[in-house]
């Protein structure tokens, strides 16, 4: 009896979630450049990337196509190494201006007090420093 109720509730939950299909986590690979070349890394990024970084304006245009963004929509800025972009604080401010939150995944190589200050000022909400392998 209980398993069948659980199954029915789960089906209902799944149907609601499928109908809403709310975007709550959006990854932006803001650059394919990286200062490191870690063996374990699954990303296609490299020190000599041939691809230009996506211009901030293009990304913001893409963000603006999201109709009724979720209340807690989080934009995770990743790469490559995001700190190779000089306009990262400006990107962060624009994300926040649109009512979204943003966070970053970095290898921490360029992370110092000045960078910390400028990113906090730009509304950085969470940060992951990846230390899971040797370069």
């Amino acid at each position: 009896m209980i398993p069948s109720v659980k199954r029915a509730l789960f089906r209902k939950f799944k149907a609601v979630e499928t109908r809403r299909h709310e975007l709550s986590y959006l990854f932006w690979e803001c650059t394919t450049r990286c200062n490191l070349d870690c063996l374990h890394c699954g990303s296609d990024c490299s020190k000599q990337s041939n691809y230009r970084d996506m211009p901030m304006e293009d990304f913001l245009k893409a963000l603006d196509t999201i109709k009724n963004p979720a209340k807690n929509l989080m934009v995770v800025v990743t790469g490559g190494e995001p700190l190779l972009r000089k306009d990262l604080p400006a990107c962060g401010r624009e994300i926040r201006r649109r009512g979204m939150r943003w966070s970053m995944v970095s290898n921490g190589y360029f992370y110092d007090e000045a960078v910390h200050n400028s990113l906090l000022n730009a509304g950085l909400g969470a940060l992951t420093i990846s230390l899971d392998g040797l370069p």
């Binding site: 926040r96 910390h116 200050n117 509304g123 950085l124 992951t128």
Partner: protein
């Protein structure tokens, strides 16, 4: 019965490890939204002209500098009593005044 317990524990640990690795590589911790947006303008008390290059700080580490129009803005930790300080002009403090910074709470 005992094997089921062991399987559950091992399975749970593996799942937790996988989640942890995924977060470490690709995700970030939860952002609880405990910050506010602050903006303001620094002007001369005597002339009312905006002043460029004034360092404004709210928390111990965080600070920003006013632009050409005397404007500053930043996100900072939400607190019951946010206090704002200006730095670099302490000897001439009586000359300058700050407009009350405005706090915006996001939705």
């Amino acid at each position: 019965m005992r094997q089921n317990w062991i399987r559950n524990i091992v399975g749970g640990l593996s799942f937790t490890t996988a989640l942890f690795i995924f977060q470490a590589c690709y995700g970030t911790p939860q952002d609880f939204g405990l910050d506010v947006f602050v903006e303001g303008k620094v002007v001369s008390k005597t002339t009312g002209e905006p002043i460029k290059g004034i360092k404004v700080s709210a928390a111990s580490l965080q600070h920003t500098v006013t632009d050409d129009k005397g404007m500053f803005s930043f996100y900072t930790v939400k607190s019951a009593s946010n206090q704002f300080r200006r730095c670099g002009w302490s000897r001439q403090r009586n000359i300058y005044q700050e407009r009350q910074p405005r706090l915006y709470r996001e939705r």
